[in-house]
């Protein structure tokens, strides 16, 4: 078993090495002009330089901060609103259909509306992130609450649990798998909207950085920025996976 995963790791590293080699061959033989497509080595150098003394580190922190702030706002608001709507059958009947109707609306389509109200500002970007990431969490919490086993509502009635206890002890944990999945989706959306917002509103951050790099044909800086954005996504989803493993231990043993 252990040998098998070792083999998998080796194969994976081999695959990654091949990927980088192909990338190097393409740039070495100038199959794509180096103006557009930097070699792995140039990307790496740009990455190190940008992080060590250059502006990349500050820009990364700026983007991560924006993303996390928007995501947290959206998570808090989404789960709390979702719990309020989800716990009452009547509220669900009146509100859920409207929310479903709005769901397919692309979050980025709200950007011009936000610009109309807030201009090209940091607040505008934050509002767009929070608003875009709100939907999946709101809907997932409502769905999670309404999907709770009806028998458990009866159990809570017989035990005499208060409404607050029902939310905290039954509905929230029962909706937790859906909520966690939506937190993941929300984080992805937050990163995307942070980048888009920075590009559009020329706010300090990686989005603006890669856009400027591309306009001035600094392809190595552009790719360095993309590598960091990928790393942010990777770390974020890794942390959420850890949280899932802890919070959904009861599910893991089922499988």
């Amino acid at each position: 078993m252990k040998q098998l995963s070792m083999q998998k790791l080796l194969l994976g590293l081999l695959g990654l090495a091949t990927f980088i080699l192909v990338w190097k061959v393409i740039t070495d033989f100038k199959l794509v002009s180096p103006i557009f497509f930097p070699s792995p080595a140039r990307t790496w150098t740009a990455l190190l330089k940008g992080l060590a003394g250059g502006p990349l580190l500050a820009q990364t922190l700026e983007t991560v901060q924006r993303m996390l702030l928007g995501w947290l706002l959206a998570s808090l608001a989404g789960i709390m609103l979702g719990a309020l709507i989800g716990v009452s059958r009547r509220a669900r009947a009146f509100i859920a259909p409207t929310l479903e109707l709005l769901r397919p609306l692309p979050a980025s389509a709200m950007i011009p509306i936000a610009i109309a109200f807030l201009g090209f500002s940091d607040q505008m970007v934050l509002v767009v992130i929070a608003f875009g990431a709100l939907w999946p969490m709101l809907l997932a919490t409502i769905h999670g609450f309404s999907a709770m086993e009806p028998r458990l509502y009866e159990v809570s009635a017989v035990l005499g649990l208060s409404r607050l206890q029902v939310i905290r002890k039954l509905a929230l944990p029962s909706a937790m798998p859906m909520i966690l999945a939506s937190l993941r989706l929300g984080l992805t959306i937050s990163l995307i909207l942070a980048v888009v917002g920075e590009m559009l509103a020329s706010r300090e951050g990686l989005g603006q950085s890669i856009l400027l790099a591309s306009r001035s044909f600094r392809s190595a800086d552009l790719f360095a920025g993309i590598v960091i954005l990928g790393a942010i996504g990777l770390v974020g989803s890794g942390l959420l996976s850890l949280a899932e493993q802890r919070l959904l231990r009861w599910q893991a043993v089922t499988r």
Partner: protein, 275 residues
């Protein structure tokens, strides 16, 4: 308590407190009906259940057994008539009335361990966090889950999950224990073991039990009285006293001529309903 029952069996009627003559019944079902729109599910049922009595409810499917039980639990409201607990009308679920559902898989919290599931009932009645662990341990021990306190329901067999549900009900410290075909989905050996445990729990806690089942032998084995419901709409067809010695024993009791006679009698009753 078992003394009293022995006396009943010996025919000393003046001592027969568990059966219908008790001065103050624990539960009084007074001319209860229940309809959904034009459809009448239950049509006028009246039963008195004495404290400490064990009443089994049998009847063909669709006779309203489960509905009757849900009304006793306060989960369904009678259309007319009333259910009284210790002399006052039952307006809704009451912590002193516990119910064991048949579908244990749905009635347990999958995200809580065995100990956590029992704890829920303690949390509900506001038991301080410090005092919970010893109570939980004792209850799990009592029901034979002492070594499985940290397991999740998904790691348990059906029999263990049903034991856990019973433990949670006991944590309510109920005066009345309602059971809705609790062992219907379990294998024969597990079922017999649980029957004996339920009998001893009822004997030690003094709880009143109402036990719905479709298994005639189970009803005779567990009951002091058996009520046969008839369908369309559900009503009392026949009330049968079970005069069998306590404590009961899976081999001896089931070979008792009285057991066999009762089984025959009930079988004929049910069969008529099915035709």
């Amino acid at each position: 308590m078992s003394m009293t029952r022995m006396n009943v069996q010996a025919g000393q009627v003046e001592m027969a407190s568990p059966v219908s003559h008790a001065a103050e019944p624990r539960i009084r079902i007074r001319d209860v009906t229940l309809s959904y729109g034009a459809l009448q599910i239950i049509g006028g049922i009246s039963i008195d259940i004495a404290p400490g009595e064990s009443l089994c409810v049998i009847g063909p499917s669709g006779c309203g057994k489960t509905t009757l039980l849900r009304m006793l639990a306060g989960l369904a409201r009678p259309t007319s008539g009333a259910v009284e607990l210790d002399g006052s009308a039952l307006g809704g679920p009451d912590r002193s009335v516990a119910i064991v559902f048949q579908d244990y898989g749905k009635a347990l919290l999958p995200w809580r361990t065995a100990a956590g599931n029992v704890s829920l009932a303690l949390e509900a009645r506001g038991c301080p966090a410090r005092e919970r662990p010893p109570i939980i341990r004792e209850l799990l021990e009592k029901i034979g889950l002492g070594r499985h306190a940290d397991k999740y329901p998904s790691e348990m067999s059906g029999g263990m999950q049903q034991r856990l549900q019973i433990a949670r009900c006991l944590a309510q410290e109920p005066k009345v224990l309602l059971m809705d075909e609790p062992f219907g989905a379990l294998d024969a050996m597990t079922r017999q073991a649980l029957q004996d445990e339920v009998l001893s729990l009822v004997a030690t806690t003094g709880a009143t039990m109402v036990f719905v089942t479709h298994d005639l032998e189970e009803a005779i084995y567990l009951g002091d009285r058996i009520v046969c419901l008839q369908p369309n709409p559900g009503r009392v067809g026949r009330m049968v006293d079970v005069r069998l010695a306590h404590p009961r024993d899976q081999l001896v009791t089931r070979e008792d001529p009285e057991f066999l006679r009762l089984r025959r009698e009930l079988y004929d009753l049910i069969k008529d309903d099915h035709q």
